[in-house]
Amino acid sequence: MTSLLEMSGISKSFDGFQAIKNLSLQIGEPELRAVIGPNGAGKTTFMDIITGKTKPDEGYIRFGEDSRSLIGLSENQIAMLGIGRKFQKPTVFEAQSVRENLAMALKNPRGTFSVLFYRKSAEGAARLEQIADEINLTAHLFRPAGELSHGQKQWLEIGMLLAQSPRLLLVDEPAAGMTAHEREHTTDILKRAAETRAVIVVEHDMEFVRRLNCKVTVLHEGSVLAEGSLDHVTNNQTVIDVYLGRTDAGD
């Protein structure tokens, strides 16, 4: 397992509030990693920094074999390098069909004119069918995405991530608002995705993290508090004090 993403000494503060403090983290390829932490631990800022939405004050991020620095790249450049992101609130394009949503995400040239003159290919269609099957939406391909249930929207968004064929997937609370049955399927999708690529799942729900059965990183006040298997970190006294002991954890 080689290191795909390496973050080192990352700090970021907003108006004096230190959201990320000397954060260092490595992820291999392939790997499934869960990132947990209480509210305000810096989980969202952590993803914003990797995807280029937020520029860190200090530190470096390197990606891929050639250790390319991600700092200073725009969101779309980072996405094209192979980093996909799923937001906490499902953001699919509701006015357009499930198929159109997936087709937009499909790995193809992104230039204005190549998109204008884009012609559908059999290869692309096959890939779409395959993804739709994986996310259980084959029967809904031609429905507007806005008509899907909450859980189906979450899947569609994961499907859009898969269509991008990224090397690193950042998934923010994929199981939020899902039924027990839907959660199970989501776990399967993520586990399968992590067989060939790196997947980072940010999650609140301990039960869901347990089912992912992977290495866990605990964030607290913007830096890594503990890292290891779920059992390892849940037995860590500091983790218990700052996180598990709190009544608002695991909501």
Partner: protein
Amino acid sequence: MTQTHSQRSSFIGRNPSVLYFLAALGLFTALVTVMSEAVGTGLVSTSFVKTLGKTLCLCLVAIAMDVVWGYCGILSLGHFAFFGIGGYAIGMWLMYARTEIIVADSLAGQTIPPTPQEISDAIGNQIFGVVGSSDFPLIWAFADSLWIQLAFVVLIPGALALIFGWLAFRSRVNGVYLSILTQAMTLALALYLFQNDSGLRGNNGLSGLQNIPGFADSGQDMVSIVFFLASALALALGYLFFAWITDSKLGNIIQAIRDDESRVRFLGYHVESYKLFVFTITAIVAGIAGALYYPQAGIINPAEIAPIASIYLAVWVAIGGRGRLYGAVIGAAVVSLLSSWFTGGGAPSIDLGVYTIHWVDWWLVLLGLSFVLITLFAPKGIGGLFDKLVRKS
């Protein structure tokens, strides 16, 4: 389970409205032609043919507005400026070429043939005497060439939109801030054109544009029908062009940008390029529409570019229904025709005894009221009501 159009394979299959629209436009054009004074029964007056021709140009700029606003979500309140620039570009040639003919006629009787300098001075005097000048400003350098001025119809709105859009989009100016910026752009342009030393005859504008050089022998009845047909053709081509763009994958992307711009960035698309493309291409179409409109109107002056004109454009599209091309056509046609009926004295005044409603004064109130009502009760506009009927049947 409702199904969207995307599973049909042919362009017309996915966009049946294109066929209906082209058929309706063809029928309308044929009817007007056979009833015109020039080639038909004379039931439709020449001035009304001009009104209808102008309306078709307004429909063309409205579909451009619909693409940039209804599809891409950029509420540009400056597209009528591009329309006006197109009018000015063609107006310069029309005015120059016609004045040249008049000057040549008047100098023809002289025993000593006039020098080119004398001819040029005489033309300059004719055109710029009204603003106390006789020198040709630099921007008139190519006014004697129809082809160069025609190229300017496309190039100047395109270049202005490209530069303005590049500056605005790369700084991620969005929403209402962008709208205000586009209003500032039109206002600045109008104020500049109002100056006498702008080189475009200040508030006099360019006039006599209905007299097409080289067609002095054919009457206005013939000129009007030719421009009417040209406007109809331009609208048909514009409609097909924009239907093709919105049907392409680029159409999906721009609608996605309208709905959630930052999500599109995380998909790897360079959102700014897409917005710039749409902003520029629609500005060019607006310029072409303006170049067809003003020869039919006969005159263009800076008041045409006033910020309010671009706001009207947005109102037409909102009333007609955003995000559907035929909605923009309906909105522009209905509102602009009603507007000229009400303000042109066509609508009878209503005598209430104590007060008489003169529509010239009250039309704007009526328009404002319908805008509010449509926004409240039919947010998808008149075109949206159509959709409901189609879905029921």
